[in-house]
Structure formats: structure tokens, C-alpha cells
Symmetry: C2
Subunit: 266 residues, 2 copies
């Protein structure tokens, strides 16, 4: 499909790209927004989510020629001036490339866990509403070869624009499923034979003592309140030892330390 | 010193709080801006940097009563409406508390390293211009008991407002010094008996093989280009093994994994 040059900022084909930030807040009904060259290359290469269209600033068109050439024939590429791009999106898109992806149907928690290999590592996120943290956890999950991520209803959407960006595209790579509640997340892992670890500053065992089992699930909660007591009371709790007077770790960093520890025992 | 209520947004005593974000960009000549209750409590409790004044939204005054009571007698507290606070600062200060700190004289790199104990862990940052990453690295340094952080000229100021915030105040806790160049940073560590590790995706040894020495310095570079070849050629290089097709870690997460590994061998 040839590149379509568009001059008119009111062209209806640009509608999905209008007011990007406001749309972030209300969601996109079956679609998601991906931004930046690295993320879009990954999206196209993996092919897990179809791309509905691509919007490219004219000044980036040449540099992105091979990306455009790799697109399926039914994905239009709209080329606009940087001014039209920024005007339509509502802020400066300095990366010069946006894409609208199609979510497709998400696997159920059971279907996802059922399909994993006998030896598998899964992260379970409970109440993690911060997009940077969710993106950071996905990045670490992909870097250390975690097989899946499960999210509870209070955790933010992994396909939120900023979460995808912070994940450097890992949210488009590592499969995820949503649990109906923190309990359902925990019970799903147990039902599929996962040993469950819950990270907590007051955890019973130090991470360095933890030995990898074949199927292992790691639960992570928010930085302030942490995981609910109802969860901590039901599973093995694990702490990362810190210096006495400054025991504060970011949850994405925590995920990196834990997944690295477990991946090294693979 | 009693709390001073101020109604007039043009009151000259509010001058240091004017246009916070614009000031972030040009610097504050001997001062720095700290924000939020957690950070300001740490600033006052540690006492490493004097507080020049505190600006509190009236609605937060009661909750922060003990913080105000702990201030030295020469530190004025200005109480303003949230509207005046937001108007003066130039954006919504939803945390409701700001403070201006005094930098004081920074130690030289040699003075800082000289004063460390025989067993010491130091992080050295080269070219890390991103405030989130510098803040995140300081947070990990404090959490894992690193004794100091060294920064090269291309690394952002640890006392930049956002770096302090992301560090959750750790930038006010862990001592730091500036090196005149990446070479001077490396040579300073060597001169003071530090074994030097340079983190790099292509590093020769895997992190899990690294054994802690008494004085150990860990060099971290930017995520894209990494540490300069001139540095990588002169010291032991270390990698964090990742999954083949997604080898991408955030540099703050990297610092957490490495410092945790070394702190566990203390």
C-alpha cells in the first residue's frame, strides 16, 4: 500500500490520532496507541497485534522506509508534516511516528497459564496503577524471559501508551491476562501448579535463599501499602534485604532483582 | 520561629518559589528545591543540607505540624493558600509542601573517597542525563547501603528537583562528588584502592560470577551508547545475562540488580 500524504489536519483518516492524551484517559475500545520507532518496529516484527494504520512525520519517512516496506498491504501509512502531526495529536510528537494497534481478544487467565511450558516464570501484579511501573515490570519480564504477566483489576492497562513506551515495547511481547480479583490471580497460579512468592519488605525469607521451582509465580504490589494481608497470609513471603534506615525500593526495580535471581537458576 | 501567613503572591519572600520549572532548567546558584512530605522530612531529619525556608499550603499545615516543629529557629515557614502556592510555583503543587535547601560546598572526589571506610561500595555514573534514572540509582544506592555516588560532567545534577523526588530523598542521603571527566572518575577510584566493574551488555563476566572486594566501584553508562570504549577497555566488564531477543534493561534497574548482588556479599 502506498504512503498517503495528508495536508488537511481535519482529514477523517487522522481521527484515531486526534487528542492523544485525552484518549489515553478514556481508552480506545479495542485499539491502542503505540509511539516511537523502537516500539513500532517491535510491533510489526512480532506481529502479535495487527497495526491498523501508521502516522509518520514527513521528515522521518525516509529513515523509516524499511519499517513501512514491512507493513502488511492492508495497513495504510499517512505522511503528514510535523506541524499537522503535533496539531492533531495535541502535543509535540518528537519521535515522529505513531501507530494504532488492534488489541484483539485477550486470553483468559486459565487459557494463558494452561498454554505455558512445564517450566515457566510468571509475574502477578496487584494494584499497580502507575504506568511507569507497569511498563518497567514488563521490560524486566521480557529481559529475563518471564513467560507471562498477570494483572489484577486495579493494575493499569499494559497497552496504555505510556506503559508500552516505558516497556520499550515489551508490553507487546510478553503475553498477559487479567484476573477478576487478586484472589482469582493467586488461585489461578495455584490451580496451574505454580509455586507462589509474594514480595514484601517484611517477607519471611530473604530472596537469596529462594530456589527456583519449575513453575514459579511472583506477586508484586504497590510501593506504599504493598500486597494485601489476605494474600501475604496465604503464600510464601520474600523480602529483599535493605540497609536499615532507607528500606525503599521501586516496584519495577524489585521485579528486576527478583526475576534476575530466578532467571539465573533456570 | 512562628509560621508566617502570606496572602500576597507578589510577596518578595516567595521569590525562591517562583516559576519552579523554569528555574529547574537554569539552576539555583547554591540552592536546590525539594518537594513533598517524605523528602522534606528526610531533609530535616538528616540535617546534611540546611533548609533556607519552607512553603506550606494551609491545608497541609496541621498534618505537617511535627515537621515544622523540628525546624531550626532560623528557618522561616511560609503558609499560603493552595491557589497562591500553585500560582507562584507555576503549576499545581498537589503535595502541598516545598522547601529551598542550601547546597553548601561539595566534597572533592578525592576527599569523599579518602573518607570512606576500608570496605566501601561506590557507584560511578557516566553520561546519565535522565533525572529519573539518576534519582532511581540514588534510591537503589541508599537502599543497598552504597557509601557514595560519583557523577561525571554529563550526568545530571543529583540535587535537581525531579532527581531528588524520584530518589525518594536518597539524593539528600548518599554522599556524592563530581569528577572532572569519566577518566578522572575512573582514576580516582583506582587511586583509592577500588576494584572497578563496568556494566555493559557485552561484558566479559556474568554478574553472578562477580565476588565482592573490600572497595568496589560500579560504573554505569547511558542505556543507548553505554560506557565509552576507552573506559570499557581499561577495567573489568560485567554483563547481566538476558533473554536473547529482548536484551534491554533500564540503567536504574541495572544498578539495583548489581548493588543487591554486591550488598548480599557484604
Amino acid at each position: 500500500m502506498p504512503v498517503v500524504a495528508i495536508d488537511d489536519p481535519d482529514d477523517p483518516r487522522l481521527a484515531p490520532y486526534r487528542a492523544v492524551r485525552e484518549r489515553d484517559l478514556v481508552g480506545r475500545q479495542g485499539l491502542f496507541m503505540a509511539e516511537g520507532e523502537v516500539v513500532l518496529r517491535l510491533l510489526v516484527r512480532r506481529g502479535r497485534f495487527p497495526l491498523q494504520s501508521l502516522l509518520v512525520s514527513e521528515r522521518r519517512l525516509e529513515a523509516l522506509g524499511d519499517l513501512v516496506a514491512d507493513l502488511p498491504a492492508d495497513c495504510p501509512v499517512y505522511a503528514v508534516s510535523q506541524a499537522v502531526m503535533d496539531g492533531v495529536a495535541g502535543f509535540s510528537i518528537h519521535r515522529g511516528v505513531l501507530g494504532v494497534g488492534v488489541r484483539g481478544e485477550e486470553p483468559s487467565l486459565d487459557a494463558l497459564l494452561e498454554g505455558l511450558p512445564p517450566r515457566a516464570l510468571v509475574a502477578g501484579l496487584v494494584g499497580i496503577a502507575n504506568h511507569d511501573n507497569v511498563g518497567g515490570i514488563f521490560r524486566n519480564a521480557a529481559a529475563f524471559g518471564a513467560d507471562a504477566v498477570l494483572v489484577d483489576p486495579a493494575t493499569c492497562d499494559p497497552l496504555y501508551r505510556k506503559a508500552i513506551r516505558v516497556s520499550v515495547g515489551a508490553a507487546l511481547v510478553t503475553p498477559f491476562a487479567r484476573a477478576a480479583s487478586p484472589d482469582a490471580l493467586l488461585e489461578g497460579l495455584a490451580r496451574h501448579g505454580f509455586t507462589i512468592l509474594a514480595l514484601s519488605p517484611g517477607g519471611r525469607r530473604s530472596l537469596s535463599e529462594v530456589r527456583r521451582t519449575a513453575r514459579m509465580g511472583v506477586l508484586l504490589g504497590t510501593e506504599g501499602p504493598g500486597l494485601p494481608d489476605a494474600i501475604l497470609g496465604r503464600v510464601e513471603t520474600v523480602r529483599i534485604p535493605m540497609t536499615g534506615d532507607f528500606d525503599s525500593l521501586n516496584v519495577a526495580t524489585t521485579s528486576g532483582i527478583v526475576l534476575h535471581h530466578l532467571a539465573m537458576q533456570a
